[in-house]
């Protein structure tokens, strides 16, 4: 008897239960990365770098070579891997605590060196795994476990816009920010990550795709309300769009 699958687990993922909370964006984003690695035919030639934070267990899910990295150091680790194997697809997958706080130096300098890497940057405005402390990306007024009265700019500064910060660096080729807020946005995000990977495969240099992603549990919102929050509260502060694009349409050499 023939069967028709409308949707099934990509072979870029292993058969493993994920540890994410209901409504979290990580499950979708880790799957998009895995789908792309599989669809590009690169499962055997990819090395991923997992972050510290909620996506720390990415190596349990991805069905290709993966290493961990110390908190914030993923771009330095990826630099080491990519320089040793320039013909492999090497990427980092990092949250906002990892990339925008403790790992600021590593991401800025990997980008500024124009390392031929791709970074998927998941911005959910809090430290998720440690239960919702303020991140550099936390909204003004947002209540977290370390800003019970809401983030006050006089004490805590302002939401850090990573893409805009990196846009001025000459080593950076492609920066795009997208909001994970409805089914259609999932396809747009996948297209942007694909573009980042292709930018690397054609040797053009550093790319980063930032995704505004829901964290219902730490935002104290329902999964559906979290999507609205991404659209209506986060998106005005972190405007989605192509922040920088100096890619050219070079054909990808055989990787």
């Amino acid at each position: 008897m023939s069967q028709t699958y409308l949707f099934k687990r990509t072979e870029g993922l292993q058969d493993a239960p994920t540890s994410f909370c209901p409504g979290c964006g990580h499950g979708i984003l880790l799957r998009l990365v895995a789908e792309l690695v599989w669809e590009l035919g690169l499962r055997g030639r990819t090395v991923g770098v997992a972050p510290v934070g909620c996506a720390v267990t990415a190596y349990d899910y991805w069905n290709f070579d993966v290493t961990e990295a110390a908190h914030g150091r993923a771009p330095a680790v990826a630099t080491g891997i990519k320089r040793v194997h320039p013909d492999r697809l090497v990427f980092t997958y990092q949250g906002d605590g990892d990339l925008a706080a403790i790992g600021t130096a590593e991401i800025v300098h990997a980008a500024n060196r124009g390392e031929n890497l791709t970074t998927v940057f998941v911005n959910n405005a809090v430290y998720g795994m440690t239960r919702g402390q303020m991140a550099p990306t936390t909204m003004l007024g947002q209540k977290t476990t370390t800003t019970a009265a809401g983030r006050d700019p006089r004490q805590h500064g302002y939401p850090l816009r990573v893409c805009e910060m990196l846009a001025g660096l000459d080593g950076v080729v492609y920066l795009e920010r997208l909001a994970l807020s409805d089914p259609a946005s999932v396809r747009r995000i996948k297209a942007a990550i694909r573009k980042g990977f292709e930018c690397q495969l054609s040797g053009q240099g550093f790319s980063l795709i930032e995704v505004l992603s829901p964290c219902p549990v730490n935002w104290n919102l329902s999964p559906v309300d979290s999507l609205t929050y991404v659209r209506e509260v986060m998106s005005p502060v972190f405007p989605p769009g192509v922040i920088k694009d100096r890619t050219c349409q070079k054909p990808a050499p055989g990787v």
Binding site: T57, D65, V66, T67, A69, A70, R73, I81, R83, V84
Partner: protein, 347 residues
Amino acid sequence: MSGNEVAGEAAVAAGCRFYAGYPITPQNQLTEYMSRRVPEVGGVFIQAESELAAINMVFGAAAAGARAMTSSSSPGISLKQEGISYLAGCELPAVIVNMNRAGPGLGDVTPSQADYFQSTRGGGHGDYRTITLGPQNLQELYDLTYLAFELADRYRNPALILGDGILAQVMEPVRLKPLRRVRPAPAWALTGCGDGPPRKILSLFLKPGVAEAHNWRLAAKYRRIEVREQRWDEFQVEDAKLVVAAFGSSARIARASVQAAREEGLAVGLFRPVSLWPFPYQPLRRLAEGRRRFLVVEMNLGQMVEDVRLAVENRGPVSFYGRPGGGVPTPEEILKVIRKTYRGAER
């Protein structure tokens, strides 16, 4: 060649094709040498934005299967400890050269052995050990740096060279080895998994009992290293009533003092640990069984002396002479201490 250049050339000879570093005195010539030499043999040199980045680039290169090295001096080595802990936890081979300067804090750029504890006790967080070799001259710096790559590979563990500002800066002739053939990436290295199962490099184990089992496995490895890799050197210890114990530059200076004492008719010898971890407890214990007195000389406030006491186990008196903060003892200075200690030995 200067010591800094010798350490770099030894790494290249051992097949190191990845170096990441960051400037700090007194090891700058090492980073400068590698910036020229590593690309010359087809390798990668990166001047990192920080010590943190440098050690993590080395982590990435090691995970990708390359022989990789970084170097620094004490304050920079402190910053690298996070990465060294991850290298140990993930069982990745790498070589780290520390041209030890005085601390704490910024201290001084002058020679010191104050990083003995940091080097031999793990240094970062967690229950781990790093192979640590303490050369006393440039030939040994060359040979031990070369050996460090072999040991790091053999045990999939970071290996340290504990030098100091003297070794870094002096110039001596060195007999070089032919360049070793670069080994292919080991089977565990992340090169892309091809059609096989995916490989993972990690030190995080959240399932109950797994982290403990991992630590027990590491402990068994450390035990194997302790049994197989103790290295030391003895000089006129057989009939010695007093044994001076020292490593690295201190040992080189103390040897002159021991010779001078012998010329005065004093039965004095020198015991020099070459591997600082694993520390050569067994041979030192054998010496202690022969009713000897021990004098430990270090350029610090007394660190290796604790290992000597552990080896001697109260079988004989152990005294200490040290110069902290970048002070370097002279042979005459140590000879005076030997005379004074020896009188105790004769009682």
